[in-house]
């Protein structure tokens, strides 16, 4: 396999903002700078010659080598051209882990970015709803997929049990997550009123 034509196209258009383009196991990987990543991803989506209209995944990687930067990975797919491209942003660990959200480009990025935030602590600027998604919202032990996170967590089992039991499983779900949004008008008036006021579930 050779490098996808999107790689050289990126380099000629964005110059130094694309630090390098490599080929690995048949996939093309473009490393881009954090500051222009959003602009580059928008171009990859909208340019007629690229047209990467499907965002397969957003995730992050941390390597065992402590000096090596943490990477945020965007896996793009063009459904029309049947082409793939992987875009990576390298984040030095001594700097704040922050990148721009791509929720405005691909709506599907919403939960993917929440997962990357939940597991790695990468903050996505401009994300409409950056909350934990896999761990419960009051989870206080840190970011589980970071290399400095012990397998059994930071707290003792007793403390973990206590915190888990203190969590309210109904407290933090939005209307959309409860699938009420589409049938909102069919709900009883009294319930609509309560939900409109933002009332959330309570443990009895």
């Amino acid at each position: 396999m050779t490098i996808s034509p999107s790689g050289p196209a990126l380099q000629s258009r964005f110059g130094a903002a694309v630090t390098r383009v490599v080929e690995s196991c048949g996939d093309t990987i473009a490393y881009v700078s954090r500051d222009r990543a959003h602009e580059i991803l928008a171009w990859l989506r909208d340019d007629p010659g690229q047209h990467f209209n499907y965002l397969t995944d957003v995730t992050a990687v941390e390597y065992r080598d402590a000096e090596r930067p943490l990477e945020v990975v965007y896996q793009l797919r063009s459904l029309d051209r049947k082409a793939d491209l992987r875009v990576k942003i390298e984040l030095a660990k001594r700097e704040p882990l922050e990148v721009d959200s791509v929720c405005d480009l691909w709506k599907g990025a919403n939960w993917l970015e929440r997962e990357a935030f939940d597991m790695f602590g990468v903050r996505f600027r401009g994300h409409p709803d950056l909350r934990r998604i896999l761990m419960w919202e009051t989870y206080a032990e840190g970011y589980p997929l970071r290399k400095d996170f012990p397998l059994r967590g930071h707290f003792s089992r007793a403390e973990q049990t206590r915190q888990a039991l203190a969590a309210n499983p109904e407290a933090h779900y939005s209307l959309e997550e409860l699938s009420i949004a589409e049938t909102f008008h069919e709900l009883p008036a009294e319930m609509r009123e309560r939900l409109a006021k933002g009332e959330r579930g309570k443990v009895g």
Binding site: M135, W136, L151, G153, A158, T161, A166, P169, V203
Partner: protein, 206 residues
Amino acid sequence: MGLTPVPAPESRAELDAASPNWVTTKLSALINWSRTRSLWPMPFGTACCAIEFMATAASRFDLARFGMERQSFSPRQADVLICAGRLPFKLAPVIRRVWDQMPQPKWAISMGACASSGGIFDTYTMVQGIDTIIPVDVYVPGCPPRPEGLLYGILLLQKKISGESLTDTALREEQVLGPHGLFLPPSRIDEVSEPFGNSVHQTRSA
């Protein structure tokens, strides 16, 4: 529960009052007989054990032979909670609420290695045995247990219920959850779970 030492009665009259008589023993036997043969299970299936549970409930193994004709998907009409699969911490308050919603008399079966001890998932997400959240009557080992294993566990539970006494109100007491879950001292945990893991030096409380 059964491990708690009962203080010895001090007088003969107290002993007589505490001892079951002919009527209560016969009544107990009748009631226990009916309870053992109409256990309604509340399946709490979270993983591959739930697939084995479904196989147990289906026609080949046929749970209905043991009086479990009706799967009770509402905890309020259930007698036995069968936790089939691993329990993450995120589900801990959920299973506790399901258990609290079940009316007495109620029992719990912990099905499989993960529900009983956390199994291979000795990680930050996993409850290390559901007996830290709810009291368990029967543990079924296996990963996952075969349907025969679960049926044997159910038969053991029926045997346990047959030996219950109506006069023993402690059996029907709700076990209140402390701030850190159900409290068992580490020595007790090691005592009931020995041997644990793949080494004689590994203890469950550690």
